[in-house]
Symmetry: C2
Subunit: 251 residues, 2 copies
Amino acid sequence: MRQERDIAVPGLSKAADHRPRYIQVKESVLQRIAAGEWAAGDVLPSELSLAQAYGVAPGTMRKAVDLLVAENLLIRRHGKGTYVTTFEWRSMVWNIFRLEGDDGSRAIPSARVVRHTRGKASAREAARLGVPRGERILRVVRVRHFAQAPIVVELLALPLALFPGMAAGQLDLPPALYEFYAREFGIVIKESEERLRAVAANSEEAGLLDIAEGAPLLEIDRTTLDVRGRVVEWRVSHCHTERHHYRNRGA
Amino acid sequence: MRQERDIAVPGLSKAADHRPRYIQVKESVLQRIAAGEWAAGDVLPSELSLAQAYGVAPGTMRKAVDLLVAENLLIRRHGKGTYVTTFEWRSMVWNIFRLEGDDGSRAIPSARVVRHTRGKASAREAARLGVPRGERILRVVRVRHFAQAPIVVELLALPLALFPGMAAGQLDLPPALYEFYAREFGIVIKESEERLRAVAANSEEAGLLDIAEGAPLLEIDRTTLDVRGRVVEWRVSHCHTERHHYRNRGA
DNA sequence: GAGTGGTCTAGACCACAAT
DNA sequence: TTGTGGTCTAGACCACTCC
């Protein structure tokens, strides 16, 4: 028997939507997370009660949750409930930090801010961040150390509209930025895109990383999107890969 | 009602196996593909008939197939059937070739063999290929061109045990190797692992790629596994990334 | 029309965690 | 003991492809 929904459910249009129900339900849940109804670390209602609220069978609700689990946005804990993933957890499974030591060692490197400036987005910055040219942004240069050795010079560009009050005075950014974004600004990271190439170290990088000018560095050019589809940051990392490498699995 | 299996089904142990049924069924199907019962491009029996053969419910069979579809080993075609993926198709969805032009252009680059030798695996080669030291292997050096420009110098190491008769005389390898492996040697690629770093071009590479010695190159060090878990090749590519980059999505 | 995968339902029972 | 997710069943009907 095909049950009709006659009550409004958040995010589910009552108009004709010919996509599968589990897709519609999944997107509704995603929207409710993006809207802050459930924050990182929160537990969701049980699958059964969600299914009843949405007016779908438990199996359909399960499939919707499956999709969000596959995207690393939710995590199931057997016997306890389904939770919105926190960044600490995501960084373990997710490979945000794909840089590791040649011996396989993995750690979140420390980060020291070299300088930061506030200004208007150039054409290139605006294109990468998906904001109008001239939008106010924050630029940061950091050096990251693995086991006391300087390994990465990192340039960040952030749209200040998403980070109200940031960099009012001095800037003291923690090493794990995405966790910081979530905690302080309610931004939930969803995905990122990276472009890698090899470049030669310029004089400033050579000084910061204690290597020769012109030495080969691995460039990681990354834009990061949150669950609402907004570009949260543009980051260009130049990595000294003499004893480290970037690891990737092709499924 | 819990139905007992009393007939032997390929790959399903009758002994106590406390893993989920859909996992057991999935691995049985995987083994049958690895054994060559179903080759690349073949149609599998319908889900319903497979379910009956395995003595499980259609939903359980479906979940087993779902897993293999998620791993890009099977592909469903609505109204037609479920197929073992061919490499041509995999290379589209799968990002085997993650190198692309800065304008976003993608193409399988041509490949010219510079030289090839047969020999015994060194300690390093043996470790990477997962074979005993001294095992007979084939080494190949190729240059790859994107739009007439030489972009990549590629070193291949292949265990000859997996490629009987290869390189008996002259060697004429096609650009898309994994497809060739499947067609000529029945090897079905499953996954790969890559390590990336930046290196400086040596004199031979500088000559082959028409760049200055010491210029930065992107090194892609890749080992590739087939469905049986065997290492099929070890490949080290040195890429000139002035107008190309390696692209990666973080889910 | 026959056969396939795609969606959806409505339960049952098991395994795990907290009380 | 209660509530949660995890597995499994046994159907129904829809959408697509091919004959």
